[in-house]
Symmetry: C2
Subunit: 134 residues, 2 copies
DNA sequence: CATAGTGTAACGGTATACTAATACACTAAA
DNA sequence: TTTAGTGTATTAGTATACCGTTACACTATG
């Protein structure tokens, strides 16, 4: 059930709240919804919208800052990094995901070619990327 | 540092021990090293080899049994499932990995095509699948 | 029947992750 | 200078995962 704000989290999702928030922010940048230097909602605003603790939002923003995705001005706000353009973040997300996936494939003893074949024939269309319908 | 047994675990790997053991067993089947109905080392034997607690091995075997990868005869031992042939397990591992990966891609707002392109161009050859050199 | 193998269950300790509560510090505008 | 915004740090509570300890049950063999 989506909250009416720009980001949403799913209380039934087993993943930690702060990780869901990080994914929301990252996806907004990847999809071009948020542009470099655009301000993010304040930790209190977003906390209110999502009905979580401000420190939970803060934890998400802190990790995104550490990853270079956002930067912070104390007393002013949190902003998308100037170099966090859609293409750049998208490439990084893809590279890191590919890296993780290939490691897991290696652990399981399957090859990149087999994995790609499996991805090609995977038929669950319901998990194509989220679209932000505004 | 590999222990001299058939399976090994890495104490520096942050993943839980029982999950590492599950991966070892699964990979042995996927690589054809273990055949259907072949017996697995007993929980005490493997615990001794890996220097972990028997109940840790037991937990791995229990999950593998739940997944249908092995079956258990109390008092007798644990065996690879008769239908757990290399092809079957390999297909399942691939399907589940593909499913997980596409979900994570969707969460990040990237498409299957982009992901496959990233996998194609990923250049870390060091993470091709483990080979069991015997 | 006893024994040595096998698997199994219950319980407890520890560590860590997650989240919230509270209070502090910075900044800009009035 | 004050105020209302902003971010930030510390602390604490809770839950859960992980792993080990201990003891029990089954099975086959001698």
């Amino acid at each position: 059930m989506a909250t009416p704000g720009r980001f949403h989290i799913d209380p039934d999702d087993p993943r930690p709240l702060y990780i869901q928030i990080m994914d929301e922010v990252r996806r907004s940048i990847v999809n071009g919804i948020m542009a470099p230097e655009q301000s993010l909602p304040s930790v209190r605003d977003l906390a209110g919208e999502l009905r979580v603790n401000p420190n939970t939002v803060q934890q998400a923003y802190r990790e995104l800052e550490r990853d270079g995705v956002v930067f912070v001005r104390r007393g002013q706000g949190t902003y998308v990094s100037p170099d966090a353009d859609t293409r750049g973040i998208r490439d990084r997300v893809l590279r890191e995901l590919a890296d993780r996936v290939l490691r897991e494939a290696a652990r399981s003893g399957v090859t990149r070619a087999e994995l790609m074949a499996a991805l090609d024939t995977h038929d669950d269309r319901s998990i194509e990327p989220s679209r932000e319908d505004e």
